[in-house]
């Protein structure tokens, strides 16, 4: 059945070269943990991607219940966590995944650093990786406000004070991020938009660039 459907599509669109180009390439021995166990350090990039996919999926499902409004945000999170079947699991995936993705990204960065993979010709991919890192920090910062509890509110307040301490533009930066003079209703909607649309959009574009470059340049050689 599946085979028949695949063949039917392949006859019309010749899709085989598409997925072959993505999937059909050799994994060099020095990055294969089956050959040298220590090569597991090469898995951290893939693990970062795996957790990112979980973040995006679980986040999409959280928005089915979540309301970005100061009167209802906390109640909606409380409801989805305690009243909705598997709410604790889905929110837990997003909550713990947010920290885990940072850990994985850090380990991946260490691997890239200690194998010297950032050197020519891969400098641009290091830069793209750094941009992804800052996007992730942004996702963590904006997402943290969304449950609108005390911890969320005060963490954001402190974050705003840090932004305000930037010379000259700090005051404007803070007000722009807050969407007003206080951390309030407009901050929550703003952070929600940034968390759910702007940053994930930028993240997907950067990840595409990251993987395109890896595919083009191949994995770096053994030490």
């Amino acid at each position: 059945m599946f085979k028949a459907v695949y063949n039917w599509i392949d006859e019309r669109l010749d899709v085989a070269p598409l997925w072959r180009d993505v999937a059909d390439h050799e994994v060099p021995e020095h990055v294969n943990p089956a050959h040298h166990f220590s090569a597991f350090v090469y898995c951290f990039g893939g693990l970062t991607f795996f957790i990112t996919v979980i973040q995006i999926l679980s986040g999409m499902f959280l928005t089915m219940y979540f309301v970005p409004d100061i009167n209802n945000a906390y109640a909606s999170v409380d409801y989805l966590q305690h009243k909705v079947a598997f709410g604790g699991i889905v929110r837990g995936m997003h909550h713990w995944g947010a920290s885990l993705v940072i850990v994985m990204m850090f380990l991946h960065t260490l691997r890239v650093f200690f194998t010297g993979s950032y050197k020519a010709p891969r400098e641009m991919n290091w830069v793209v990786g750094m941009l992804i890192f800052f996007i992730m920090l942004g996702l963590g910062f904006t997402g943290y406000l969304l449950p609108w509890d005390n911890k969320a509110y005060f963490a954001t307040k402190v974050g705003m004070q840090i932004a305000e301490s930037v010379p000259y533009i700090g005051v404007y930066l803070k007000e722009l991020m807050q969407g007003g003079t206080i951390v309030g209703a407009q901050t929550l909607t703003r952070f929600f938009a940034i968390h759910v649309f702007f940053l994930p959009g930028a993240l997907l574009a950067l990840m595409a660039a990251h993987f395109f470059m890896i595919r083009k340049q191949g994995i770096s050689g053994p030490l």
Partner: protein, 171 residues
């Protein structure tokens, strides 16, 4: 002056390719601007909106104020986008060595935690977050880069009225 005998006069003429790339490029830029500008203006609106000055609020009888700072709470009408509420503010009010009544904002000038008076029995304001210390006048002794902010004070009919927050005037 220059002599171009036998040469055709050179006309500074635009090629078709140049003409097209200018007009099409210009049109594209115009249309892209038409799409992007409204969204940018939309996003930055909060920093361009007029801020209303906060009014002076009656807080406490003048006669109750001593040399020791006491925490007073008062409410202001707060407009936050489509939400209006009565927000509670806190001020530490005391009489200075000069006999003048002044009111300090409880927001730590390090990273914005809430300070308390004399929590370490040292006659100082102390911030629980990273240990900033301030004198009675709000002078920053450690950690914080600036002295505590002050509320503008007005005395009327024996009452203390507090207004907008301003930079410390006492240190």
């Amino acid at each position: 002056m220059s002599n171009h005998e036998g040469q055709k006069p050179v006309r500074k003429e635009m090629s078709r390719r140049q003409f097209l790339s200018y007009t099409l490029g210009g049109t594209t830029a115009f249309m892209a601007g038409g799409v992007v500008l409204p969204m940018v203006r939309f996003a930055v609106d909060p920093i361009l909106q007029k801020k209303e000055k906060s009014a002076f609020i009656k807080v406490v009888e003048e006669s109750k104020i001593t040399n020791d700072p006491v925490e007073y709470k008062f409410k202001i009408h707060q407009v936050d986008g489509w939400y209006e509420s009565e927000a509670e503010l806190v001020a530490w009010v005391s009489k200075g060595a000069d006999g003048k009544i002044f009111a300090l904002s409880p927001v730590c000038k390090h990273l914005g935690c809430t300070i308390g008076w004399n929590t370490e029995q040292s006659d100082q304001y102390v911030c629980p977050c990273h240990g900033a210390h301030y004198t009675r006048d709000g002078k920053n002794l450690s950690v914080a880069p600036k002295p505590l902010d002050e509320y503008q004070v007005e005395l009327k009919d024996g009452f203390v009225y507090l207004g907008p927050i301003v930079a410390n005037t006492r240190v």
